[in-house]
């Protein structure tokens, strides 16, 4: 069902955890679908210095969470905002169609975290 790359990120997820005193946190998901992702970020000079995730979800949900953290670490916020759920799926070599809609929310979580950061820091 899943590509090797998905299975790699699923079995050895990168950047699991929660950042203490994060600069931004994004939590997205739907309990009906069984996928909930929480992403926390540390920002220094508009660059994502650190990012961690916690996810309750299926293989695709965990793999996309892991992948998105790899993709954005060290990236400028502007670049990070360009990343879409499709970017993440592509980076994983594709996802089963049934998983595209619901379990592929990691980029949404990222954007929510950035928004959270901006809200807090643009006062």
């Amino acid at each position: 069902m899943y590509s090797e790359k998905v299975m790699d990120h699923f079995s050895n997820p990168r950047n699991v955890g929660e950042i203490e005193n994060p600069d931004g946190v994004g939590t997205v998901g739907n309990p009906a679908c069984g996928d909930i992702m929480k992403l926390s970020i540390k920002i220094e000079g508009d660059v994502i210095k650190d990012v961690k995730f916690k996810t309750f979800g299926c293989g695709a949900a965990i793999a996309t969470s892991s992948m998105v953290t790899e993709l954005v670490k060290g990236k400028h916020l502007d670049e990070a905002e360009e990343i879409s759920n499709n970017t993440v799926a592509d980076a994983l070599g594709g996802l089963p169609p049934v998983k595209m809609h619901c379990s592929n929310l990691a980029a949404d979580a990222l954007h929510a975290a950035i928004e959270d950061y901006k809200k807090k820091h643009t006062k």
Binding site: K54, T55, V98
Partner: protein, 404 residues
């Protein structure tokens, strides 16, 4: 790698004796059972013998068995065939919310084409309320279709009582016994069953064959019109190899039933007790006693089902979450939802369905392997840290519906 198969409710391997029995009909004995020459002549006889074996397992007459291609065909034939033949008598059907899609989707379809369908609730142990059933009956009720045992939880319904109620009201009673046949004794006469569905690949016969029991006198409009096969009730050249296999599987089920019930109950209980003891926040879905002997459905809260399964698979253990047939969707199990299990707990459920080949070693291996898996998944779960950190809930942005 170790390979442990705990997904027998999804499908079973073919029993070696069954394989040997069917093999000749994939080789030299390939003729059409309707033919009079050497290639076909024998196959008519073996089909009749297989029919006898199925009938013996259910305690009915040979003439009351129709061979089908699977459980879903059987359910469709029994339900649509019956309501169509009784359409002039009424248009009301009673079923439950926890049926297999083969029954549920059929009933929903009928509901769109002029039939009234009552979908009965179950309680939080997956049990049926017989008073609710009695109250649902109207003068227009022509069919009660209620499963024998639930495929996800293993819960057994009060079939004998339902049969009695149906009989009292002169209503035809169909039971989808795909998960019951071969696992527990079923006597269709004693249970007052009018129509019963079974499927070969759930009792060590191959996929592609099934059967229904049709009580003498119950009339069905065929689902598959065609030749004279199955006494005009199911067209199509007979799948001789599959039918012979199903006969053999029923014979073996009959022969080994008592011993298998003991074997499976002991293993299942060991597995269940072990898991509940070793893993906190584990809860059993379904009635603790009233179950087929091979099934345990457990929610490991705060850890998601599919991710547990993938981890188990990496250790060679095959299990499932929800019904395999619905794995094309992400929606939580309709069975667990009907039982009032929360969305999160539904998505945390794993079904272990044991089979004849399983051993104590298999169970102990799972007991060793699973706790750290659940622990790992929980350590990654935002729900778990929230829950154990004292906060009962976390807030998040909802992301629309998950059906698509």
């Amino acid at each position: 790698m170790k390979r442990i198969y705990f997904d027998n409710n999804a499908t079973t391997p073919i029993h070696p004796e069954v394989f040997d029995a069917m093999l000749p009909y994939l080789k030299d004995e390939f003729g059409n059972p309707s033919s009079i020459h050497w290639a076909g002549r024998n196959t008519r006889k073996v089909i009749d013998e297989a029919r006898e074996k199925v009938a013996r397992l259910l305690n009915c007459d040979v003439g009351e068995i129709i061979f089908t291609s699977c459980g879903s065909e059987g359910d469709n034939l029994a339900i649509k065939g019956l309501v169509e033949s009784k359409r002039d008598k009424g248009n009301h059907i009673i079923t439950t919310k926890v049926e297999h899609p083969a029954v549920l989707t059929t009933c929903k379809y009928l509901a769109k084409t002029g039939f009234d369908v009552t979908f009965l609730d179950v309680d939080n142990q997956g049990m049926l309320d017989l008073d609710q059933l009695k109250k649902a009956i109207t003068p227009k009720t022509i069919l009660i279709t209620i499963m024998f045992a639930n495929n996800e939880t293993g819960v057994i319904f009060p079939i004998e009582e339902i049969g009695r109620i149906a009989k009292e009201h002169n209503i035809t009673f169909h039971t989808d016994a795909v998960q019951g046949v071969g696992k527990v004794p079923i006597d269709v006469k004693k249970l007052n069953i009018d129509l019963l569905t079974l499927s070969g690949h759930k009792l060590y016969a191959p996929k592609g064959v099934g059967a229904i029991y049709v009580k003498r006198g119950v009339r069905l409009v065929p689902l598959i019109h065609g030749g004279h096969q199955e006494r005009n009730r199911r067209g199509g050249t007979e799948n001789t190899a599959g039918i012979v296999a199903l006969g053999k599987a029923c014979e073996i089920a009959h022969r080994d039933m008592e011993q298998e019930i003991k074997h499976l109950t002991a293993l299942r209980d060991r597995l269940e007790k072990g898991l509940m003891g070793k893993i906190p926040h584990a809860r059993l879905n379904g009635h603790p006693k009233n179950r087929i002997p091979n099934t345990a459905n457990i929610s490991f809260e705060f850890a998601e089902g599919e991710s547990i399964l993938l981890n188990l698979d990496m250790k060679g253990i095959a299990a499932s979450s929800g019904s395999a047939c619905t794995s094309g969707t992400l929606e939580p199990s309709h069975v667990l939802v009907a039982m009032g299990v929360s969305m999160e707990a539904s998505h945390s459920s794993v079904r272990f369905s044991l089979g004849r080949g399983n051993t104590v070693e298999d169970v102990d291996y799972v007991l060793e392997v699973l706790p750290p898996i659940v622990e790992k998944m929980r350590s990654m779960s935002p729900l778990y840290s929230a829950a154990t950190g004292g906060a009962a809930n976390i807030s998040f942005t909802e992301s629309g519906s998950c059906s698509h």
